[in-house]
Amino acid sequence: MTHGIIPPYLLRRIARLDDAKYAVAAHAARVALEHDKRFRSVRFDLGFDENNDLVATLVDAPDRTISDAAGTMTIPGSPVRREGNDPTGDPAADEAYDGLGATFALYSEVYGRNSIDGAGLPLDATVHYGDLYDNAFWDGERMVFGDGDGEIFTRFTASLSVIGHELAHGVTQYTAGLVYRDQSGALNESISDVFGALVEQYSRGQTVADATWLIGEGIFTAEVEGSALRSLRAPGTAYDDDVLGKDPQPAHFDDYIQTDEDGGGVHLNSGIPNRAFYLVAESLGGNAWEHAGQIWYDAINGPTLTARADFAQFAAATVAAALERYGAQSAEVAAVIDGWTGVGIPPLPPQVAGST
């Protein structure tokens, strides 16, 4: 079996093959060309069947472009690595490329989603944005990464969970569309943390018990007393530093923070749904991306979740998703109810939730 990205000209050449020996491959190539006239990127798995005929299988594949802003705040900057190109040797560009690939793999292989929009949207990122820029963000179309100031933060591409977090903002934009303020904003943030953590766990093959559950591990310099920016397992414990202070994330709804800053504390109150997800995953054990991740993925794609959903409404959406996929008597439904109850947001029992 060989893997490779087939460029469009080669796909067209394969599609024209007359030889019966290549009939299947030629058909697959024609399907690919017809299926997507804008032709983006498809992975072709080539092999031989029992009759020794060439068989081509089309698989979704990412279409990545990494650009370099070279220390300016101009987006997108100059392309430095396109899909299928060799590594550049620049760690930021190569980490972004690999991180987008790992994130694409989780959505495609586990949830059957082809990119951010579910329809093969190209994945674009800009690295080396700004001068000593202490941030990474999603601008509605692309992921943008700064190099950090070198005193508190190093480059933001150094953590796969950060890359997964940014791309998940794109997925939320195309699905639940959660408004970036107050509780719906904290949910938007939490969904990015959850899938950022899952990208890292899936990529490393880590179970619930093996995983760090940290967001942004490795982006603090050695000067900072802390392992990461956030912890899903134990919100409020990621760092405790003389300069930064202590990680202020709440882990329970009783400690919800009211503030005007940060869109109503979207990066703070996300600790509450983050902890709920961890509790569900811990209860179910094994690989968190399988059942717990599937339930959360179903919830953001579900029909009932509104853009201004609060924690209780999102909790109800996850119960409904677990009920739909695993059944009322399942361990999954029980784990989801217990998880939310554990952070002070007890959902209605499923039969009641189902009838309202």
């Binding site: 963000f137 509605g140 933001f156 970036y180 940060d262 504390g265």
Partner: protein
Amino acid sequence: MPAELTITVARSGGFAGLTRTWSLSAALDDSGELLDLVNACPWRRVQSDAVSRDRFVYLITVRAPRKHRTARVPEASLTGPWKLLVERVQQEHPAPSPTRTPPRSS
């Protein structure tokens, strides 16, 4: 005490959710150029940014006798005089320790 002009910039949001604050104070008599910059900013017409996620938001406050202005400017709109004003405040007062949003429980 001579009348003073104080400009404060609080940058919140961002992936880390850390708030960082800078401020500048100057005697009002010596602040002609700075006041021109303040007056050049479109205080009542700040473009909002509903699409970006994890970007910084700048809370900019100007205080002087009989003058109190405040605006919340998303990073995407921090251009022109806004950018010059924020850079001026950041230069004047080299970045102190960043702090997280002070938690105030409900």
